[in-house]
Amino acid sequence: MRRRSHALRLAITAAAALLAVAACGPPNPAGPAKAKGSSSPYGFDAAEQKDGKLVVWVDSTRLDAAKAYQAAHPGVQLDVVTYDGNANGSNTLKTKVQLFNRAGEGWPDVVFTTDNNTASWASQGDDAFVAPLDKGLLDDATLGGFAKGALDVCTVGGTVYCLRNDLAQVVLWYNKKLLDEFGYAVPKTWEEYQALGEKVAAEHPGHIVGTAGDAWAPEIYMWGSECPAGQITGAKAITVKATDATCARAAKLMDRLVANKTMSMLPLFGPDFAKNQGDKVLMLPGPAWYGGAVFQGTLKTPKGELAVADALHWAGQDPPVTGNVGGGAWWLSRHSTNLKAAKDFLTWVATADAYQVELSPGYPAHAAAAAKWIKKQQDSGYYAGDIAAPITAAAGQVWSGWGSPEFSQEAVWAKTVIPAQTAGKTVESLLPEWQTAIEQQAQVSGYQVTK
C-alpha cells in the first residue's frame, strides 16, 4: 500500500510536468494563417497598432541619435536600449530576435546594426523580422535620397529592408603633419604602401601605417584585393576561394608589415592601442567612419593634422576597387505595434540634419546630409585638406564580389586567424585554415559551398 501511494505521487508529479511541457511546447511552425503581403498596404502584415512606448535598440555611438530624436520630439515616449550593435560578428541581434520569435513578443520597434549580415537572415522565411520599406511604408523621395549603392546591403531580391546610416568604404587616412615632416609622398597603390611601410620601419621605427588586430582586417585588406572569400551565388549558395592569388598578395602584404612592426596587431578600440601607439599613427587604411570614431574619438588626433587620400588599389587593378567595413543601418520591425512612430524615428535618424549633419561621427549615407556633413567637417577646420573628393570617389569603388551572407566573416577571421597570428604564424600560411573555417561556418548556416 505504501508502494501504491508512492506510485500515485509519481503520477501526479509526471502529470504536472507534462502539463508544464505542453504549456511551453514549440509554437506551431505554420502559425496562424497569414494573408500574404499583397493585400496589406506595406507589403507585410502589420500587427495591430497601439500607442505606447517606442522601443529602440542602438549601439553606444548611436545613443546620440536617439537622444537627438528625443530632444526634437519631446512628446514621444522612447525606450532606448543600448546593445553591442552586432559589432565584431557578435550576432547579438539574431540571438535575441530568435528568442523573441520563440516567445512571440518582445521585439524592438527600431534597431541599429553595424554589420551587413542582417538583411540576409532577418528578411526571409516565416520568421522574418525586418519590414520591407519600399512597399508602401516609405515614399520614393526618402529612399531616393540615399547615395547610389548605399542601400545595396539593405536590399534582398530587389526589396529594401533598411535605411543606411553611414557609408563605410575604405579610404586611406593619414597624418599629413607627420607625413610632411618625414618627407614621404602619399601612396597610390598597395605596392607603394608596402614600400612606404618598409621605409618607415627603417627610418622611423615605432610608427605604424596600418592595423590588423581587429576582426574587420580582412574587409580592409582582403576585400580591397578582390579576394573571393565569400561570393554569394544564390539564396543559400556561396563560393569560397580564400587561397586565391588575390588573397595571397594581401596576406603577404600584411605579413611583411606585421613582421617589421609598422602594422599593429592591437585592437583599435582596446585599451592598449590609444595608450601605446596613439601618437605613432602615420596612416591607416580604413573605412570612412575612422575619421570620427578612431581619430577624433579614440586617438584624439589634434585639429589640422588628419587628411584623407584616395583608396589604395593594386597596380593593374582595373577598375580600382576598395573594401568596406560595416556602415551602420537602421531597421524597422515588422512586428511593431507602433509603425507610425517607428517610421518617423527611422526616417528622422537616417536623414535629419539635426543628427546626420550635426552629430554623426561617420559619413552619412543620405546624399543631402552627406553634402552638408562634409561641408561642416571641412568648415570646422579639423581635417587638413579636402576630404570630400576621396571619400565620395571611394563610395563608388566598393568591390561587389564580397558577399554579405547570414554569418559574419568578421567572427570567422577573429576566431581563426587572429589567435594564430598572435602566436606568430603568417596570414599566408593560415589561408587554408581560413578557407576551411569559412566553409564550415557556411555549412553550419545551411549554405551550399563551392570551392
Binding site: 508529479t13 511551453c24 585592437p267 577573429a414 589567435p419 564550415q440 553550419v444
Partner: protein, 302 residues
C-alpha cells in the same frame, strides 16, 4: 482481500504517508522548485531532442547531426581538458588547505582564514568573471607583471587557446573553492578527537594521520564535492562567453558544449539540436555521478 480490508488498509496507508509531518513541509518548497525548474525542463528537452522542428518523432537524427558538427568534438575536448584540470586541482588544493587550517592552533587565525577563503565565493558568477577580465588584461591588471610573464604581452595573447583551460580553472577555483574548504574543515571537525589521538599515540605524524586517517574518513565529502563540481564544470558557459566578448571574438562563441547548445538554439534556430546537446551533457553528468556514488559509497549508512 475483502473490500473492508482494502479500505482499512487504504485508510491506514493514507494516515501513514500523508500525515503532514514536518519533513513534508521542509521538502515541499524544494520539490516544487525541482519539478518546475528541474524535471519539467528536462522532460521538455527530452521531447525536443527526439522530435524535429515540426514536432514529428525524429529518432536519433538530432544527436547524429550535432555530433557531426565540426564544432562538437573540439568543444568536447575543451570541456574535458578543463574538467580534468579543475577537478584535480580542486581536490588537491581544497584538501591541503582544509588540513592546514585544521592544524592551526590559534582559534583567531582559523576563523580569519576560513572567512578569507570564503569571501571570493560571495561574488556571483558573471561578476567574478568580469573582475577576472581586468585581472587578465595586461594593460589594466594590477598583477600585470605576473600575467605578462605567464601568458603574454597583450590580452589577445593571454587568451590564446592553450591558456584557456588554465584560466577557467583559476577563475573557477577562486570563486568556488573557498566554500569547499569551509565544508571540508567542518567535515574534519566531525572526526572524533579520540581517533586522531589514537593515531598520534601509535606514532603517526601529521602527514600520515592525514593520508591514513583523515582523508579516508572524508571520502564521502570528497565524492560529494566532485559530483557537484563536475556538474558545474560541464556547464561551462559564462566564462568563455564573456571572454569572447571582451576579446572582440578572438575566443569563439563555440568554446564549450553549453555555448554550442546556445548557438544551436539562438543562432541557428535549431532548438531540437540544442536539446540533443543538452541531453548529451545530462547523460555524461548522470553517468559520472553514478560512478562516483557507487565507488564513493555516498549513500552507504554508517
Amino acid at each position: 482481500m475483502t473490500a473492508s480490508a482494502i479500505s482499512a488498509a487504504h485508510a491506514r496507508s493514507r494516515t501513514r504517508s500523508w500525515r503532514p509531518a514536518a519533513g513534508h513541509v521542509f521538502v515541499s518548497g524544494y520539490v516544487v522548485l525541482l519539478v518546475v525548474f528541474g524535471v519539467a525542463p528536462t522532460l521538455y528537452a527530452l521531447n525536443l531532442a527526439f522530435t524535429d522542428a515540426d514536432g514529428r518523432f525524429a529518432g536519433l537524427a538530432n544527436f547524429v547531426r550535432t555530433v557531426q558538427d565540426h564544432r562538437f568534438l573540439s568543444a568536447v575536448g575543451h570541456v574535458a581538458t578543463y574538467l580534468v584540470l579543475w577537478l584535480v586541482t580542486l581536490t588537491v588544493l581544497v584538501l591541503v588547505l582544509a588540513l592546514l587550517v585544521h592544524r592551526l592552533t590559534s582559534r583567531w587565525y582559523r576563523a580569519t582564514l576560513r572567512f578569507v577563503y570564503y569571501v571570493p565565493g560571495a561574488l556571483a558568477g558573471a561578476s567574478s568573471v568580469l573582475l577576472w577580465l581586468f585581472m587578465l588584461d595586461p594593460s589594466v591588471s594590477p598583477a600585470d607583471d605576473l600575467v605578462r610573464a605567464l601568458w603574454g604581452e597583450t590580452f589577445v595573447g593571454v587568451v590564446a587557446p592553450a591558456h584557456l583551460p588554465w584560466i577557467f580553472t583559476i577563475i573557477a577555483f577562486w570563486t568556488g573553492a573557498g566554500g569547499w574548504i569551509v565544508v571540508m574543515y567542518g567535515a574534519l571537525n566531525s572526526i572524533p578527537h579520540s581517533v586522531i589521538e589514537a593515531a598520534r599515540v601509535d606514532g603517526a605524524g601529521p602527514v600520515r594521520t592525514a593520508l591514513r586517517v583523515q582523508l579516508p574518513m572524508l571520502r564521502k565529502w570528497i565524492v560529494y564535492m566532485l559530483i557537484l563540481s563536475l556538474a558545474a564544470g560541464t556547464q561551462l558557459f559564462v566564462e568563455p562567453q564573456l571572454i569572447s566578448q571582451a576579446s572582440f571574438g578572438v575566443v569563439g562563441t563555440d568554446y564549450s558544449l553549453n555555448q554550442l547548445a546556445y548557438l544551436y538554439a539562438f543562432d541557428q534556430n535549431d532548438f531540437n539540436g540544442s536539446a540533443a546537446i543538452a541531453i548529451d551533457l545530462l547523460i555524461v553528468a548522470l553517468c559520472s555521478a553514478g560512478l562516483f556514488v557507487a565507488k564513493g559509497g555516498l549513500f552507504d549508512a554508517d
